[in-house]
Symmetry: C2
């Protein structure tokens, strides 16, 4: 193993942030503007950047997300790293990297994180390179995404889906503080790509100790108003355990 073969890649973090508008799943993307032969070209990228010298990966992800969107205290989960040597080969991406980072970069290995947040959280715009917007997941196919960010988003969604089987309470990060069971059901069905039965879903919610009915109903709807619920995480009985034990409940005879 000789020294000559060793290469110094850059390491970045990228954040796939999902939101839910009551209808569809959305992902948070940064507008990217590239001047190309006097034409202004716009595409989108995930919030992400190169890590700093003395920075842990998790710390870098939080910092970068905050720098680009103003978001703070976001629960980020690392889900996969992407290191295809060709992922930074697109001329537009190279151009953008040189302009933004003042950097000639041969290769970037990125560590991807995922987060679920309420879609009405305030997003700061600090400069022209930090304009973040929500985009419908269904529209991604028709959009131009930087690097391999389309693949990263897809993998991020897979990860969320997979992990909700174990930590279903993550779903509530996507809903407003007060929500109706319809909203919860729509979201649940969207994420799991299914159509659940209304009555059975109600039953399931009733069994969740961490979903509490409120003495309030929604307002301003042109029909019967639905009761509002809130999500309550109990410090003693973290919801995490509830489903996990169900999933794992196999022949358990001590």
């Amino acid at each position: 193993m000789s020294n000559e073969n060793i290469y110094y890649p850059h390491v970045s973090v990228d954040c796939v942030v999902f939101g839910f508008d009551g209808e569809n799943l959305k992902v948070l993307l940064i507008e990217r503007n590239i001047k190309e032969q006097n034409e202004l070209y716009n595409d989108k990228k995930l919030p992400g950047s190169i890590i700093l010298q003395d920075e842990d990966l998790d710390t870098a992800a939080s910092r970068v997300l905050n720098e680009l969107t103003g978001l703070k205290n976001i629960y980020l989960s690392q889900f996969k790293s992407f290191g295809n040597p060709n992922r930074t080969n697109d001329p537009r991406d190279i151009l953008w990297l040189e302009n933004t980072m003042q950097l000639k970069i041969g290769r970037i290995v990125t560590v991807a994180y995922v987060a679920l947040i309420k879609i009405d959280r305030k997003l700061q715009v600090k400069n022209e390179n930090t304009q973040a917007n929500w985009y419908d997941l269904n529209d991604l196919a028709t959009m131009n995404l930087a690097f391999d960010h389309a693949e990263i988003i897809k993998k991020g969604l897979d990860y969320v889906r997979h992990n909700l089987d174990i930590e279903p309470h993550l779903l509530f990060e996507l809903l407003p503080r007060k929500f109706t069971i319809s909203q919860l059901r729509t979201l649940h069905d969207k994420v799991h790509q299914m159509r659940s039965d209304v009555r059975n879903f109600q039953k399931k919610v009733a069994q969740m100790p961490y979903v509490m009915p409120l003495d309030e109903v929604e307002e301003g709807v042109p029909h019967r108003a639905a009761r509002l619920y809130k999500f309550k995480k109990s410090p003693l009985n973290p919801p995490k355990g509830d489903f996990k034990s169900v999933v794992l409940k196999k022949d358990r005879t001590i």
Copy 2:
């Protein structure tokens, strides 16, 4: 974001390879010998190394594992990256890196992979730095492991446990080609840290279309010989789907 803050870490891959000896789970570790003030110091490390310039992460993991153990065609799953800036701070680790890599290294971000293999696979020893041995997971606490490799192994085991709920057939990678239900049960219980009921476990196995009974029994045991079974992956009905659909079976009304 100025150029000065940007740092050039190295990127490595590490492989957590699990085996099963019929009794306990084992992990494959490389013997590491360090000369320290004329004393020879021995500890263990995961098979891993720095990635090459034009190499994908998955490719690097396969290459490194092969270079260090001779193993080929191993199904490796990336599970997590580790980038704590302090993970390469131990003087012994620094010394070893300088000796082995002829390299002064400030920081290494490592991408960790996990694999399950049959414990009787031949391991090549190419030189003094590629002596690999199986170590019982229960003994790790008392051993000296390089870098943050103890943590990586722990996270790797968590990943395996978690993923077996979705791809239970991975378990069979750990068993000999012909195995008894007892062996399968012992392994299952060890991985899931539980004690299953014999009869219910038999029932469960009977329902697995990919576990086929053979017209053979084990030999050389001082008691009634158990029937042998083999694992059969069907190309049309990949076992992957079997459990997944069960786990996900929620109110499904089209």
